[in-house]
Symmetry: C2
Subunit: 887 residues, 2 copies
Amino acid sequence: MSKWVYRFGQSGADGDATMRNLLGGKGANLAEMSNLGLPVPPGLTITTDVCTYFYDNDQNYPADLRDQVQQAISQIGEGVGRCFGDAANPLLVSVRSGGRASMPGMMDTVLNLGLNDDTVKGLIDLSDDPRFAFDSYRRFIQMYSDVVLGIEHHNFEEILEIFKEENGYILDTELDNEDWEGVVDKYKAKVVEHLGKAFPQDPDEQLWGAISAVFGSWQNARAVTYRRLHNIPDSWGTAVNVQAMVFGNMGSDSATGVAFTRNPSTGEKAFYGEFLENAQGEDVVAGIRTPQHLTKTAREESGASAPSMEEQMPAAFKELTQVFQKLEGHYSDMQDIEFTIQRGKLWMLQTRSGKRTAKAALKIAVDMAREGLISKEQAVARIDPEALDQLLHPTLDPDAERDVVTTGLPASPGAASGYVVFTADEAEQMRAQNKDVILVRIETSPEDIHGMHAAVGILTARGGMTSHAAVVARGMGRPCVSGAGGLRIDEAAGTFTCLGRTVGRGDLITVDGSTGQVMWGAVPTIKPELSGDFATVMEWADDLRELKIRTNAETPADVQVAREFGAEGIGLCRTEHMFFDADRILAVREMILARDEAGRREALAKILPMQRTDFEEIFKIMAGLPVTIRLLDPPLHEFLPKTREEIEEVADASGMDLERLRRRVTELHEFNPMLGHRGCRLGISYPEIYEMQARAIFEAAIAAGKSTGRAVVLEIMIPLVGMKAELDTLKKHIEQTAKTIETETGEKVSYLIGTMIELPRAALRAEEIAESAEFFSFGTNDLTQTTFGISRDDSTRFINDYLEKRIMERDPFVSIDEHGVGELIAIAAERGRQARPGIKLGICGEHGGDPDSIQFCQKMGLQYVSCSPYRVPIARLAAAQAKLKAQ
Amino acid sequence: MSKWVYRFGQSGADGDATMRNLLGGKGANLAEMSNLGLPVPPGLTITTDVCTYFYDNDQNYPADLRDQVQQAISQIGEGVGRCFGDAANPLLVSVRSGGRASMPGMMDTVLNLGLNDDTVKGLIDLSDDPRFAFDSYRRFIQMYSDVVLGIEHHNFEEILEIFKEENGYILDTELDNEDWEGVVDKYKAKVVEHLGKAFPQDPDEQLWGAISAVFGSWQNARAVTYRRLHNIPDSWGTAVNVQAMVFGNMGSDSATGVAFTRNPSTGEKAFYGEFLENAQGEDVVAGIRTPQHLTKTAREESGASAPSMEEQMPAAFKELTQVFQKLEGHYSDMQDIEFTIQRGKLWMLQTRSGKRTAKAALKIAVDMAREGLISKEQAVARIDPEALDQLLHPTLDPDAERDVVTTGLPASPGAASGYVVFTADEAEQMRAQNKDVILVRIETSPEDIHGMHAAVGILTARGGMTSHAAVVARGMGRPCVSGAGGLRIDEAAGTFTCLGRTVGRGDLITVDGSTGQVMWGAVPTIKPELSGDFATVMEWADDLRELKIRTNAETPADVQVAREFGAEGIGLCRTEHMFFDADRILAVREMILARDEAGRREALAKILPMQRTDFEEIFKIMAGLPVTIRLLDPPLHEFLPKTREEIEEVADASGMDLERLRRRVTELHEFNPMLGHRGCRLGISYPEIYEMQARAIFEAAIAAGKSTGRAVVLEIMIPLVGMKAELDTLKKHIEQTAKTIETETGEKVSYLIGTMIELPRAALRAEEIAESAEFFSFGTNDLTQTTFGISRDDSTRFINDYLEKRIMERDPFVSIDEHGVGELIAIAAERGRQARPGIKLGICGEHGGDPDSIQFCQKMGLQYVSCSPYRVPIARLAAAQAKLKAQ
């Protein structure tokens, strides 16, 4: 016989806190508190296995469940000296859901269950308070009808309002017991009106109705959506807790409240919470009465007049503080607690780890480690790396007024104010005049990069969280709101309209990339602070982690930011980003339009000194740390104008032959540029391009080495290799260039040559590729695209659909798909090591900043992850946690 | 000590025919003939290992090579009683290249080597014929200078011409010995003029010069290109044969000739060949004199007057026919032979398997099997499957005159004549008037499919052998010439120009897709004949093979052709091709433009009866054989117009709202459509599309089953699956549709649901996918695209470059890349079988018709391959050969 039901209460419990998966969070903690000897009203937990069984068996229960529940209810009754359904001495219970993770959208709570026209009389006798009994009964009818019978609560609230109006009452407390009895009758009539049958009087029917409502709510729309957004598997299921009622509404010596053992907003070590006298749980939530403070200090600080619990109920308060200390000591974490005081006696209804802000999380972790409550490892393990993102960017002053124009997707965190511009060139011009600008585009493309750099924030009408704008903005640390659907941009007129309002070029707006809000005017922001607890946690994390953290960056500004955030090298320096700068794009286009190699070499000669300067600056900032430079990757047509109008504009401005330009654009057009003439394929078709880049790199390395006195740790990376012969061909060219420069300068540069592993074939053929490659860097963006056959730029069309329908559990462009892409990484790592033991392995691409992916990298034994500058601290923490989990 | 040199000759040989890899084809066969006791002038073969050593060691030879050569040369001299370099009794030798495969572009032959100013006197004494001796000397100087010293032969031919003119001679035979001696002096002076030094007089220097020229020619441009085109690895290398000279130019009782043991053109069992009296080998090739026939019959048939060898030299002829019989019996194959008769004595200089036409190959194989010379298995193994292609299509009458306008790539075999049209719509209109048309386009796209169907041939200005036009034309069996570079199409004027000529709309032209030629006017063609030997070989192949052969086809016409070619089912019926028909595209576009599901369903209802009719016809033709239908695959924008002009045109013609059409085109635009919203992703976003298709399929199956009396063997295939959940979702919909139809009609349809494996992730997750998929069909086109990260449509840009630079050995879109894509197929097959033992596995996509890929499929244990109708016979034969090789 399976055990479907676990009991808990003052005499101990069947379960404990470790049984969270089976009993849910609430049930496991009720059991744990019972075992600790805390005053917990007795109850039972129906396990999550029953939920699974319920859905696997067409919403039927295991055969022996009813017996187990009945037996446990009897024991609860015995514990409190009552009997469920007994008219004279009725046991009343609450029914609550409780999964592994707390989850809004689930059926929450039914209180006072077991009341009916008979037992209410017993409750009158027992409490000697008919008003309390009828008040409890009417609450029960309303709650039960709402969550179990599907009759919305406003139906009942209306009845009460009308009753009060008719009788000239203002407050609920003005109703006497007969009034409440009358209200109960009207409530019952309302149920008949809705259902065509009476409110269930049989306590057993009530109980099973409530239990089924909990299990049923596991699959309601809100719960399903919540699970999708928070990656909670359907298979987890929920538990149901049935617990003997205690009453906070039994007079002025009764109360109910919620509390935190520390301040969840600041992390300060001080009890924090509120209570309501003579009230039941839902009154606190409902917000009809203003709750009172828990401590005297808090009351005084807020200037409130109503006495604190410390003052009003000193004995219960003292007991409560002892419970606080016991629980925090036991759980080694800040607790979020619910309690009830029934006629002066404290009862504990719930404890759990309290939610907190990022700032509070850091402070609590550091404080507790210093108090000796937890180890440094635990402190590090406890911080959600993603939450740090809040702290790394400027945020809007929470007290400032906001005039929200529209809301899009929170595509890149941080907030910024600036003047509206509509093109990348405008952005650069305004920036040159020291003006902050917000770049507003329908969507961005690689040609906008210089404008995105010049802007303090980006706003797009189209594109998802992984659109070009979003990815690039996150990489640069620029706030970005993408896919603001309501936006209509009229570039010609220099305006955009939104919800009927028009914003023009030069108008001041604020974007908040953390929330997706776009606001009129400049909203004040608060700067991030990275010292104190933040710095302490980072330091502890660095001591723990094995994975090195590098950054993906190519501008000196970004490289500098990354260094300050603790990057230990560059994992991906994308040389093509340097090609888009206004002063270079002309030479780049000349190169592309050249009729032959000689013409290309002529144009490349103009680019060489600029690339050399770029590299030299980067090498100087990263002195002594490794720098991985990827040679030119995108297809050449990305550097050319696209539309008829743009082509004419470029021809006009540059003096290039319009017809030739047009023809070249047509020639270079590709159906699937992602799978086209790019990456190392360019290097093979036009060896002179890679030769120029290699020369710029080597010359810069020699110069930077001299000026810093530290040799540059240089890694040259060949993109999009699928065949060993590609790498061999290009490696030979680069080595040749190195030799030429050695001969010219008499200086020897040391360097490694490696390759991206970003094609399935490269992963499969890693053994032979590693014979030539001195390192692998997993380009998981492209590897995900090719493994899934999904273009990231086009996937927003259907990926959301997939996530909603649960066809995908997670967006594979956000977190590495361990089963598909991950297997290719594992294959490549294993085969690469076979050919070259100890081969340097790392990952670049967006996944390098994703904590789950970082954990996967740790498991694969990679040496480093590389991510955008603003993700570096997140990666440092995540890497430490990954190491802890691996132990 | 390594053995670098192998001897052969009348006293036997060191090697034999099995040592082809080491000795080259020529050397191995000379050794084999020696062992058979045939009259072979003694000689030596320097092995291909020396060639490998030569290139591995900076063009140096193994230290002990010279000694081995010298020793062997001495032995050769001993055998014929001469001595190399001896002025009185000189041994003369020929030097010839000879690799594993015969290869034009290599240095071919130097004859009479060893002659110099001294030895020529010895030769006069020995032959008693000064004219012969000086003629031999001048031939040697010219040949050696040309192929070893790099002085082109026309330099010497000019000298001879001038000499003849000055002396009033017309024929070479008019020169006497002194004339020839004078010519030799002039030749030597020419060498001094070119090189600044004398023609080498040292026989050893001559010998090593010639040997090095052979090895050096292995890497000359022509040889490299030839190897690339014929997939001959660089690593094979060539051997060098040095052989004692015998002379066919020692008077009228001497001769030289070439012969085949059967007719290489028709396959007829009759000796076939020609000879020249008093001549050396190169005279036959040079074509200055008309050679005589070998047999009397041949002479009489051709009406020639010069006597045949049978008549002129009956003794030598008799000996030769005995050699023919011996060799054919020994090699069990038709032989291609070179011989020389020196003063009445027959010498064998070469034997090898003779090249033959496809028709001859079939006849010879069938005849030999019937003669008991070879087994049926050998007969089947011996036919080159690719060669069959010649026989399956109409060919140009070889006797007809051709006025060639231009030459492009031979993209799809066969020849056809028709009137020029420039658009698919025109093609359809003309076809409706029963006119044959040739569709001429810059390049084709999916919208042209109906026009390609309507045309009898296709000509494009752009695109390679794997361009859209080429692939689709091959699939349809339409002749196609692609990438005709010289073509300039002026669609507006309705003309194309080429090499200065203009061809207009409605002009009659002929395209020959087997050669790439485009001709003015209608050139008569010859119809293919598929009975007789062809049918016999096919029958034998069918008895042998294990792999089933299916076809990729969707029009009743194509399905019918495939059936006649022996297809055993349909492996890929692409339903989208049915969407492009002129009468449907409007409804398809309505569906795409619909605002909501209801609108889409309304449009789909119009397509349903048409799809049902399509399927019913196909099912009837394939009665009792399996039919795999792939649900809609391409992105929806493929069905919409693209350019501004086309959009306006469509809006005009269809009455659709221009703005809405334009917006939808923009919305649906994708950066990488190959990786976009297509395949099963469409079925998930718009379940109603697949539902309509499933309904059409099931209803057609019921109707066809009734009318043929044989149940349809139905396989429904879901494209582009990467995740099991995709398949599960769609499988449920299809099963639901089947149930609905069962309820409606009371008929039960049986069917399988399976999936394409065309994404790396699908291959890796094959085990879980096979839990739901009842069959796998490997879509190797897309699998190659994603595994390599190469778009087939865009790859012509660089794949040629890759092949030329030997970065790729073969185009992976032609032959499966066994190491990369192949490993994924192996993984998928293994994992698929793990979950579902005996799961049906097949391959569709172009590779299904490629013999090498078919061999791979046999190795993988697939059940069938599916290819375009015209490849079916090729696949049948290749499958039999694959099975034989596997044994």
